[in-house]
């Protein structure tokens, strides 16, 4: 049963990644695109964790942690650039 549930959740997260990509492409303003990119980072973490569960190994959690940290830092850096015109003053 668990294998089928993991496949269903894979499909759900794939659909939500496509929706985020749609918002990233049409987004009328720059903060919209930043928000879509941040959401794509978080959904990618979900995909990696599901893949690790279906493979039965905990190796992929390190990659998920790295993606979480890089996504947060890049979101804050781009927002800071939009706010001040510079990242580190």
């Amino acid at each position: 049963m668990l294998e089928n549930v993991i496949l269903i959740v894979f499909a759900m997260i794939g659909v939500s990644l496509l929706l985020n990509l749609w918002r990233l492409l049409i987004g009328p303003s720059v903060p919209d695109r930043i928000l879509a990119l941040d959401t794509m980072y978080i959904n990618t973490i979900a995909l990696i964790i599901l893949y690790g569960m279906s493979m039965g190994t905990t190796l992929y959690f390190e990659a998920a942690l790295l993606i979480a940290m890089l996504g947060f830092v890049s979101t804050v850096a781009v927002c800071k650039y939009l706010l001040r015109g510079d990242i580190i003053e």
Binding site: P31, L35, A64, L65, C79
Partner: protein, 110 residues
């Protein structure tokens, strides 16, 4: 029994992630669009990670702690990045529709 718990948590998490992304696409202006990913997606991720934690704690030796780290990190950083995005949106004076609430509370550019 644990398989049922893991399956229900996974389905709840996937549903919340999907609802967050649908909100990101369907909402009319940026101030409403920010609600979907920062709230629903974070809750869905927490649910997915709790499911993964139960799965690896039952199938493998010992208690796995990595998932708690990722969950805590996501729960701490989601409000911070949401705050930074709403600050840049206010700075750029984005358009909002008529029925967006709380526009009077926006102060001048901080």
């Amino acid at each position: 029994m644990t398989e049922w718990i893991i399956s229900i948590l996974l389905l709840i998490g996937g549903t919340f992630v999907l609802v967050g992304s649908i909100g990101l696409v369907k909402m009319p202006d940026f101030f409403m669009r920010l609600h979907g990913p920062t709230k629903a997606t974070t809750l869905g991720m927490a649910s997915l990670l709790v499911a993964a934690m139960i799965f690896f704690s039952t199938t493998q030796e010992g208690f796995s702690v990595n998932e708690i780290l990722i969950t805590l990190f996501l729960l701490i950083t989601a409000p911070v990045s949401g705050y930074m995005m709403i600050k840049s949106a206010i700075h750029h004076k984005l358009d909002s529709i008529e029925r967006t609430k709380g526009k009077n509370n926006i102060e001048d550019d901080v």
